[in-house]
Symmetry: C2
Subunit: 176 residues, 2 copies
DNA sequence: ATTATATGTATGCAGTCTGCATATAAGTCA
DNA sequence: TGACTTATATGCAGACTGCATACATATAAT
């Protein structure tokens, strides 16, 4: 039985499959390392990153950028606050909203979180030569640029990115 | 503050980060499509794929290949059996073990599951030209071949792969 | 054959994560 | 002032998971 895919090229069929396997591998390694080394769930890690990147954010804003409902985000941040990683302050301008920021311990966790994730992805790349890396960079950039729609999906896709490694002006998802 | 990564090349630092973002994107799209279109959790999908690939497997064997504990796998398969997707029969050789196989509906779901995942990854590749695809294939193959350790991690990484697109003799994780 | 051990399944229990519905507080506008 | 919107918080329920344990079956040693 032949499947009805858009791509008829047999080579690309294989490429698409191993691309999916690579995604599984990366997420498995990153998330299990976060859990075991830092006791952070995937969404807790995302919340930490977002509060680190945009101090003063409200819960609502963080929820939108990590792709959770508001109530789920309230609980994620509640747990982080109980652990002393996040500090809540009612904002001056709008007394409804929380103004979130990381404590010193939270900032430390944020750095470790990025190091952990970067350790995984750097290790994957470390066996490639310069030409292979350049080709990979170019292909990934093209994919992200073409397929990620701006707005919510872009934010959610970048929810755990390291902004020291991908500022908005070079992010293939953001760049025009 | 400069971080202490193995890779000092600034270009590779960016590449590693967007590689991580790509993994997030793929897993988000695949898993949310499975959930909304087929009502399958990520691990339920993996169990279906594994039973499809190796009919007659025991629960224990499936657990090992998808990376869950035995008890969690019992429940995943129990739910699939309740839905009529999986059929359990006590094996003849060993009356302790279940011999799992997919029902007709289960096989249909398995095909849809692969089509859904392939739809996501094919779409990502569809904007690349032949040279880019070839370079990507080659880089991903090199990464998987070098970094995935045989045995448990290999099995778990391949837990939702489409064996019509990646037979063991061409799988970069399996080949010597 | 009997007994001890190992293997495969199943289940009680608890903990985490999530979404929906709802309640409360605070801001906005007619 | 009153109606509406926005931001947060919480009760509730459901899904998923691991640990500890119970039970059945197989295997091996005596």
């Amino acid at each position: 039985m032949v499947d009805q895919d858009a791509l008829s090229d047999g080579e690309s069929r294989h490429t698409a499959n191993i691309l999916g396997a690579l995604a599984v591998l990366i997420q498995d390694r990153v998330e299990s390392a976060w859990q075991s080394a830092l006791d952070l769930s995937p969404m807790a890690a995302a919340a930490v990153v977002q509060i680190d990147n945009e101090p003063g954010s409200s819960i609502e804003q963080v929820a939108g950028r990590i792709g959770l409902t508001h109530s789920a985000t309230v609980r994620v941040i509640d747990k982080l606050a109980e652990r002393g990683l996040v500090e809540k302050d009612r904002a001056r301008k709008d007394a409804r909203a929380q103004s979130l920021k990381l404590s010193k311990a939270g900032k430390r966790i944020a750095q470790q979180l990025h190091e952990t994730r970067n350790g995984v992805t750097d290790d994957l790349l470390s066996g490639l030569d310069a030409a292979q890396r350049k080709a990979l960079e170019q292909a990934i950039s093209a994919i992200l640029h073409r397929t990620v729609e701006p707005g919510r999906e872009a934010d959610v896709t970048c929810r755990v990115c390291d902004d020291r490694r991908c500022t908005p002006d070079i992010c293939p998802i953001r760049v025009a």
